[in-house]
Structure formats: structure tokens, C-alpha cells
């Protein structure tokens, strides 16, 4: 029988509890920013989970995943600008377009492998990035403010901060659950088999290309959803949404949390973004303890610590945070 009370599961449950109760804490303390910050974290976690689906389980390292954030966001933004506020059109359109883009990119990119795959996905993302830059009507380089969040009639009011937070959390959990089911299904086994040994998969009779392409499209749609949510959250979209370093950030989240585990990317997203918020204060605090005063300037150099940390994680903790919590079983 499986043991359910592992340190890992305890941690996941604790994290979920914190996420679920956050708006309560925020309401009690009056610090509404916590909800804003964590809405963003949750949305990016969806993107990281989707990236992890193709990268961690399918072995397809996409260096252009931020493109879907952009496509999802821009569909919402452009439709809103053209006066179509209803989410019943905006959301499906965004998801379909993300999927179609993934279909095109995947069909062309999946012929290559290894670093060529990394670079060709980057190339396609850069193309979308520059297209967005050239969209003069929609702000070009400067981006576009979305005056109203997607309208779902009386169904749900996205402008309510708490409602929106719980919607995003629910979508994250749905995504995680869906991915969890999927990786255990026949489809998921084919994807993981092809990461492990693509040649053998074909020899035993799988058309791995089709399955990988399907997986690529699913990940694209999920990340497009994340883009839709992000655009609604910030009320603003710009090409910066899909700058190549953003794709890098998503990879960092997936790996930091623990690649190839379903919940890992969520942990990674929370860890990275919380670290980003707190590391400056941490440095300030350490300098206060060490030399008796807070060195304000030192707080700006928090990335000096983040960079080597990433390298150390790559070298010494390949299972990411998940791996550390779960012990050495995942290696």
C-alpha cells in the first residue's frame, strides 16, 4: 500500500492550506497586496505546470513558452480594445489561438531535437514578440491597458479581488489535477516513454510524433489560459510578457520546484516569486544583524544571490525543492 503521509504530501497540503486561507488573512490584516501578489504567483504557476508537462514529462525543452502567455493576453487585450468585453468570446478565442499556434510551432519544431528544439522554439517566440512590438494600434512596444476585465454576465464578477483569486486558484488546481490524471493515463505513459527513449517507442509501434504534438498543443492551451488570467489580473499587456527571459523564468520555476512531478512547478513558482519579493528584505535584515544597520544599497543586489543559487540547485539538487522535501527517492 502507498503511504500517504509523506513529508512531501504534508508540505503540499500545507501549501494548499496557505493558498486557500490567504484572502482571509489578507482581509483580517487589511493587506490586500498579498492577494494581488499571490494571484500573480498562482497564474504563473499554471504556466509553469503547463511547461512542465512538455518539459518534465515529455522531455521537450521549450525556450519559447512565454509566447503563449502573450497570445492569451493579447487576444483578451485586442478584443477588449475592439469593444468585445465578453469572456464567452475572449477566453475560447484565446485558448483556440494558443492551441493553433502550438500546433504550428510543434509540427515544425518536433522534427528537431535537443538544443535545436530549444532554439527553434525560442525563434518562434521571438517572432511573436516582434509581431506584438509591431502592433501599432495595440500600443506596439508600450503595451495596452485593458480597461475592463472579461465580462461573464452575472455568472462571475472578475473585478472582485477575492473572487478572482479563488477563480485562479480553482483553475490552478484543476490544471494540476488534469495533468496528474493525464500523466498516469495511457497518453501520459506514451509521452514519458518517448522522453525516456523515443526510438524504442517507435519500434514498439507508437507514432510518437502525434502524441508529442498533442501534448505540445495541450501545454500551449494551458499556458494560453495563464496568459488570459494574467492579462485580466494586471489589466495590462505588453510584449515584455513574452520576452525570452520570461521563458527562462518559467523554466526556472519548473526546475526549481522539481521537474517531472506534477506539483513541483507550483512550489517552484511560489518559491521564485516569493524569493523575489523577500530576498531584498532578507539581505537588509542580514546586513542589519551583521553590521548593525540596514544597508539599503545591498538590498538592490539580491540577484547576486539568486544567480549562484540557481547554479547550485542545478548542480546539487536536481530534483528541485520537491526532491529535497521528498528525500532522495526522486534523485
Amino acid at each position: 500500500m502507498k503511504v500517504w503521509l509523506t513529508p512531501r504530501n504534508a508540505f503540499v497540503v500545507a501549501l494548499l492550506a496557505v493558498l486557500a486561507l490567504l484572502p482571509v488573512y489578507s482581509a483580517l490584516t487589511g493587506n490586500t497586496f498579498m492577494v494581488t501578489l499571490f494571484t500573480r504567483i498562482i497564474i504563473l504557476a499554471i504556466a509553469a505546470v503547463s511547461l512542465n508537462l512538455i518539459m518534465g514529462f515529455g522531455g521537450m525543452v521549450s525556450f519559447g513558452h512565454a509566447a503563449y502567455l502573450g497570445i492569451g493576453g493579447y487576444v483578451v487585450g485586442i478584443l477588449a480594445k475592439e469593444g468585445i468585453d465578453t469572456g464567452f468570446i475572449q477566453w475560447p478565442a484565446a485558448l483556440v489561438l494558443s492551441g493553433l499556434f502550438a500546433l504550428g510551432v510543434g509540427a515544425l519544431s518536433l522534427r528537431t531535437r535537443g538544443v535545436y528544439f530549444i532554439m527553434i522554439t525560442l525563434a518562434f517566440a521571438q517572432m511573436v514578440y516582434y509581431i506584438a512590438n509591431g502592433l501599432d494600434r495595440y500600443g506596439g512596444d508600450d503595451g495596452l491597458t485593458i480597461q475592463r476585465r472579461s465580462d461573464f454576465g452575472g455568472l462571475i464578477n472578475l473585478s472582485n479581488r477575492t473572487v478572482y483569486y479563488y477563480l485562479c486558484l480553482a483553475l490552478l488546481l484543476a490544471t494540476v489535477y488534469f495533468v496528474w490524471r493525464m500523466v498516469k493515463s495511457r497518453f501520459g505513459l506514451v509521452i514519458q516513454g518517448s522522453r525516456s527513449n523515443d526510438r524504442r517507442m517507435r519500434a514498439i509501434g507508437f507514432s510518437t510524433f502525434r502524441y508529442k504534438l498533442t501534448c505540445f498543443v495541450i501545454a500551449g492551451v494551458l499556458c494560453g489560459l495563464s496568459g488570459v488570467l494574467l492579462a485580466n489580473h494586471t489589466n495590462f499587456i505588453s510584449p515584455a510578457l513574452m520576452h525570452w527571459t520570461r521563458s527562462g523564468d518559467l523554466i526556472v520555476m519548473a526546475v526549481l520546484g522539481g521537474m517531472g512531478t506534477v506539483f513541483g512547478p507550483v512550489i517552484g513558482a511560489v518559491a521564485l516569486l516569493v524569493l523575489e519579493e523577500t530576498l531584498p528584505h532578507l539581505i537588509g535584515f542580514v546586513s542589519y544583524v551583521l553590521i548593525g544597520k540596514e544597508v539599503v544599497a545591498a538590498k538592490e543586489y539580491w540577484q547576486l544571490i539568486l544567480g549562484p543559487m540557481l547554479l547550485l540547485i542545478v548542480i546539487y539538487a536536481r530534483g528541485g525543492i520537491e526532491g529535497l522535501i521528498a528525500g532522495s527517492r526522486r534523485g
Partner: protein, 245 residues
């Protein structure tokens, strides 16, 4: 069939006919083009000229996975498994490959009896039943070879292409493998590539000799043993091979 790699002709006008139900062995020195031949038959390598027929049907243009679906299975000379999966998972994947399409996203495949049961049977068939839940990376080389065979079998093939299943096995493991193959050859057509002459002559119904991409002889084991050209071209070289191996 002809295949050239740059200036090297790996398969030079090979004509090979494997009859249903027989175990046909291919022998030949290193570099004779044996693995290339299997590659062309299984569909991984496209011949520059010539045709491949399977069960009376031309399959020259079919990709690997389609030939596999027709019942043509292969094993690999260099162990090629899913190292981070369990033994049972490996075989179950092979079963799954022939159980319709795999666009099932919801049901837990590890709970599906129709995938797991045939896999367990195939594992038992090669004597690995007790190792079913072991991660493949932790298993021995001999077990890997057995597992290779189990995977090929799990696809319920009508013809097996075996690329040196005995390579790197100890005498005891080899004997077990010969035993297993002997059990199989009644039901399945087998094309066997092997260096282990003892095994070849023990198992084969017919033997073809491949040297520098050409079939120089083909016939019953006894004829091959007697063939002067073969002795000179191949068996004479066996000493050298033996020194290495």
C-alpha cells in the same frame, strides 16, 4: 535491397527470403551490415533501392510504427529500454502500443488489466515475473536482454527481428535465452542476428551469411558449416572475434 552510407555500401543487393514459421539466422563478421539490414526491415532506415515485403504486402514505404502494428517487432543490439520505468511498465507500454490508439487522457493506465495482464504474462515467459516492479536501471545486463525479448513478445508479433540477443551474456544466461527462443520459434517467425555460433547452430532452421553487405551463402545449417567460402570469409575470422569478445 541496397543502402549506402557515404562511400560505404552497407547493404549491397541483398535478397533475403524468410519463410513463415522458421528461425532464420544471419551471421557475418563485424561491419558486415547486419544491423543495417534489421534497420531496413524494421523501417528505421530507408533503403536506397529495393523493396521489403511482409506477409505478401509491400511495406517499403511504411514508417516503423506501422510495420510494428502489422506484427513486425525488433529488439536492439545495444540495450534500448525505458530505464526510469519499471520492468512491468516497459512491457505494458509495448502491449499498449498494440491496444488501439493511446489518446486516453483520464484512466490510470497502471490500473488497466488489459494492459497489465498480458505484460505480466510476457514477463513470466522470459522468467522475469519476480522482477516486475523493479526500476529497469537497477537490473542486470542479462535481465535487460530478457526484458528486451519480453517487450518484443508483448506486441504479439508474427515476426521477430532479434539483434544479437546473446550479446554480453554469460554462459548460463545464454543457455536460458536459447531455451526461451526455442520455446518461441514454434509460434513466431524469427530473424536472428547473432555472433554466438553455438546458439545459432542450435536454433536456426536456415542460415544466411552476410559479408561486406552481400549475402555470400544461404542454406541449411549443415550446408553452411560445409561451405568453403563461408569458412574462409567468416569462420576464419572467428578467432579474431573470439579474442575480442
Amino acid at each position: 535491397m541496397t543502402k549506402r552510407f557515404g562511400g560505404v555500401t552497407a547493404s549491397d543487393n541483398i535478397v533475403l527470403d524468410v519463410t513463415a514459421g522458421e528461425l532464420h539466422a544471419i551471421i557475418g563478421p563485424n561491419g558486415a551490415g547486419k544491423t543495417t539490414l534489421i534497420g531496413q526491415l524494421s523501417g528505421e532506415i530507408v533503403p536506397d533501392a529495393g523493396r521489403v515485403y511482409f506477409d505478401g504486402r509491400e511495406v517499403t514505404a511504411l514508417p516503423v510504427f506501422r510495420r510494428s502494428a502489422l506484427g513486425l517487432a525488433r529488439s536492439f543490439q545495444i540495450t534500448s529500454l525505458f530505464l526510469d520505468f519499471t520492468a512491468l511498465d516497459n512491457v505494458a507500454l509495448a502491449v499498449q502500443a498494440h491496444a488501439g490508439h493511446s489518446f486516453h487522457f483520464w484512466r490510470d493506465a497502471r490500473e488497466e488489466g488489459e494492459l497489465r495482464e498480458p505484460a505480466r504474462i510476457a514477463l513470466a515467459g522470459v522468467g522475469l515475473a519476480h522482477r516486475a516492479d523493479e526500476i529497469v536501471a537497477n537490473m542486470s545486463h542479462g535481465e535487460h536482454r530478457q526484458l528486451e525479448l519480453a517487450m518484443a513478445l508483448a506486441t504479439k508479433p508474427r515476426m521477430l527481428l532479434l539483434d544479437e540477443p546473446m550479446a554480453g551474456l554469460g554462459p548460463e544466461e545464454s543457455a536460458r535465452m536459447v531455451q526461451t527462443l526455442r520455446g518461441l520459434k514454434r509460434d513466431i517467425t524469427i530473424l536472428l542476428i547473432e555472433h554466438d555460433m553455438e546458439a545459432v547452430f542450435a536454433l536456426a532452421d536456415r542460415i544466411s551469411v552476410l559479408v561486406y553487405g552481400r549475402v555470400i551463402a544461404s542454406g541449411l545449417p549443415a550446408d553452411i558449416r560445409a561451405n568453403a567460402e563461408v569458412r574462409q570469409a567468416y569462420l576464419g575470422e572467428q578467432d579474431v572475434v573470439a579474442e575480442h569478445g
